[in-house]
């Protein structure tokens, strides 16, 4: 569990967070949601330890060696193939490579067919799928994913989320998203950031119940207002 205590942070004289407080949940996915520009990526940077807060603390601040962090874009070497990239992940992981049935299934069913294609010739979704897959094979304590389903079709989005779900049982997984509906069937702890603070911290069903029609988007809009 990661505790964010009274965290304040400013970027270029603009206050991003003021006394932000929340706790992540163990054994399930943690999803940060909030409007554009609210500082979701900044929050991941703070949790990863590459940005220091102005005030407050993140406890525990996990060593960078135990973190894997997928940034929002898909910056990668265009000249290498998917298989080369996966091999590189294996070299980085050494003997501690993670492998579970979900990972094997995703490789065989989804990745294998385009694994020999170079990154520059892949679609944005295929690149993201390979990176997320590769990162999940690394054995770390904390996994941070910034919009891992952005640009993916609904089937691949579900695939990526099920992949994250498969490692979240015994690892801390935190990701951001704008698509709330994709969280519906997941065991997920939602951390809703708005107006420089955490305005909601709980499950999908708890958030839905904030709206009279039990719709997650209505609940989201209601809290924002």
């Amino acid at each position: 569990m990661i505790n964010v205590n009274d965290l304040s942070f400013s970027y270029k004289n603009k206050l991003i967070y003021q006394k932000l407080n929340f706790k992540t949940a163990n054994g399930k996915l943690n999803c940060i949601v909030g409007p554009n520009g609210v500082g979701k990526s900044t929050l991941l940077d703070l949790i990863a330890g590459i940005t220091k807060p102005s005030l407050g603390k993140i406890d525990p601040l996990i060593s960078k060696h135990d973190v894997v962090y997928q940034t929002q874009g898909v910056p990668f070497l265009n000249e290498v193939s998917g298989d080369d990239a996966i091999q590189m992940f294996q070299s980085m992981g050494g003997k501690k490579i993670q492998s579970n049935s979900k990972l094997r299934q995703i490789y065989n069913d989804e990745i294998k067919s385009f694994a020999d294609v170079k990154f520059r010739d892949m679609s944005g979704g295929q690149r993201r799928l390979i990176l997320v897959y590769g990162m999940c094979t690394l054995n770390r304590k904390l996994y941070l994913f910034d919009e891992p389903t952005s640009g993916l079709d609904p089937i691949n989005s579900q695939l990526v989320l099920s992949l994250l779900n498969s490692i979240s049982r015994d690892k801390q997984v935190i990701f951001t998203t704008h698509n709330l509906y994709e969280l519906k069937n997941l065991d997920v702890n939602i951390i809703f950031i708005s107006h420089r603070e955490c305005v909601f911290n709980g499950s999908y069903s708890q958030l839905s119940k904030k709206a009279s029609d039990n719709d997650i988007i209505s609940a989201y809009s209601k809290i924002l207002k």
């Binding site: 590459i50 910056p75 000249e79 290498v80 070299s91």
Partner: protein, 247 residues
């Protein structure tokens, strides 16, 4: 750690081989310029001492070293940082230094290959083959490569838009070549000019080809150590996040 370096270098080799034109261009331009400048010598039947030959080669070797360090090591690191690749990759690799070291080592080998090829082509054009000159080229590049990287690494601490990188590297190259044409009589200015990697290269060449002279060795050695320390500190201090774009 060795496995990680191997994997990283494999990636950088793939990126280099994918862009072979740049690889050839680095020595095509100096060869063309050499033929343009020295055509009288090429078609004449002059005899050259070892020192004459290596003196003729210095600005060209300096150019190849500078171009490779600027465009393929520092430029690549800069582009990787600005695109967000360095940030993500340093978590995967668990080391920022290894990501920086990989192109640095690879381009040391490529620079050696290119400068030795260039020296051989010049020697063949001048109708002589001298193994000592090849050895000198190897030694000079090996001595000068890291300090050149070190001093030019300062670019990575500057904040500018990534579109300006090619202008910054072009200007650096021009200033370095221009500074090489200066031969101040004042000793302090001579030492200060050693900041210019091509001046330093010329100095190292003189040290290697003439009698040991402490007044030349000590300043060159001091500059080499300072340049390397600058390179190491910048590599350690350099942020992994883009300086110009939020990513």
């Amino acid at each position: 750690m060795i496995n990680k370096m191997k994997a990283l270098m494999k990636f950088d080799i793939a990126a280099t081989l994918d862009n072979k034109v740049v690889f050839i261009y680095t020595i095509i331009f100096p060869i063309g310029y050499f033929y343009f400048m020295e055509w009288k010598q090429i078609f004449g039947h002059n005899s050259y001492s070892n020192y004459d030959l290596i003196s003729m080669l210095i600005p060209f070797i300096g150019y190849v070293v500078l171009i490779n360090v600027l465009n393929n090591v520092i430029g690549v690191t800069y582009a990787r940082r600005e695109s967000g690749f360095l940030k993500m990759y340093s978590f995967i690799v668990q080391s920022k230094l290894m990501i920086i070291l990989s192109p640095l080592i690879l381009y040391y080998l490529i620079t050696l290959f290119e400068t030795i090829c260039f020296s051989i082509i010049v020697m063949l054009s001048l109708h002589l083959i001298d193994l000592e000159t090849i050895l000198l080229t190897f030694l000079i590049v090996s001595i000068i490569y890291l300090p050149t990287y070190g001093i030019l690494n300062i670019v990575l601490m500057m904040r500018f838009n990534h579109q300006l990188m090619s202008i910054v590297s072009g200007m650096t190259l021009l200033i370095a070549l221009f500074a090489y044409t200066f031969t101040p009589t004042n000793r302090i200015f001579q030492w200060l000019l050693l900041i210019d990697p091509i001046q330093l290269l010329g100095n190292v060449c003189t040290i290697l080809t003439s009698k040991v002279n402490l007044t030349m060795i000590v300043p060159a050695l001091v500059v080499i150590i300072i340049d390397c320390l600058i390179g190491l500190s910048v590599s350690k201090m350099m942020p992994i996040k883009s300086a110009s774009v939020r990513n």
